[in-house]
Symmetry: C2
Subunit: 121 residues, 2 copies
DNA sequence: TTTCGAGGTTAGCCATTGCTTACGTTAGTT
DNA sequence: AACTAACGTAAGCAATGGCTAACCTCGAAA
């Protein structure tokens, strides 16, 4: 889960997201990526390091070149996460569709210490 | 797709991700969220604005309070995206499993203008 | 109507971070 | 061995961005 945070931080930068998108279509070498972006090659290198440390990509040496490809495990983690969120909120919507009948205030955890809410009754 | 970028930028900040995670479990008011985080309430407000503009959450007014909840459409977009990436790379792996037989160099688009790669032959 | 609670907004500060330039490294090529 | 292509790394800089403090708005209670 701590890895999820790093994954989002990695994809949070527009340039890094663009790099990831490109790699997601097919494996790429560093120079190829830099050639299609308005930043220098070292910049791409640094971005790739972040993506790698987040577990989203992996590199394979091929001669003097380094080919980067997506790491399936990283994608799986994100996929599963949004599946969870989706399903959890799907239930919430079904439950909300059932409402109308009961309007019990439900335990309301408040941190500001304000007085208990009176029911609208 | 331009919205995807904003979504990732939104979830890229650790505090904002924490806020989103909390809302993802159940709808929350602003004060509740701030009470569980080491940041001030205005900070939470600003984060919520970003999440809202990214289409990830929506707010519902309830008296003087504002309850934030997840926006299904935003989740769906992210879910679909990773499904695509996953499936595309799944095929790539199956294709890689088939390899071994043919090792034609495949057209290699290079940007650095280096001489054409000689096949290892 | 006055008071209070909950939340959004702004200005400004400071830490983060993305980018470039320069350098070091490795592996092919001649 | 010398040369070169392809990367990674470090330092330094400028801009982005997150946080707080102070202020303003709105709705509900007294």
């Amino acid at each position: 889960m701590a890895n999820l945070e790093k994954a989002f931080e990695a994809l949070g930068d527009p340039t890094r997201l663009a790099i990831f998108q490109r790699i997601a279509t097919r494996p790429h070498a560093v120079g190829e990526i830099a050639g299609h972006l308005p930043v220098s090659r070292p910049a791409v290198s640094q971005h790739l390091r972040v993506l790698k440390e987040a577990g989203l990509v992996a590199d394979v040496k091929n001669g003097t070149r380094r080919v980067y490809e997506v790491r399936p495990e990283g994608i799986e983690a994100l996929r599963k996460y949004f599946d969870q969120v989706w399903e959890r909120n799907l239930k919430a919507f079904q439950a909300a569709a059932d409402k109308k009948s009961r309007e019990k205030g439900s335990s309301d955890d408040r941190s500001t210490g304000s007085p208990a809410r009176k029911k609208v009754h």
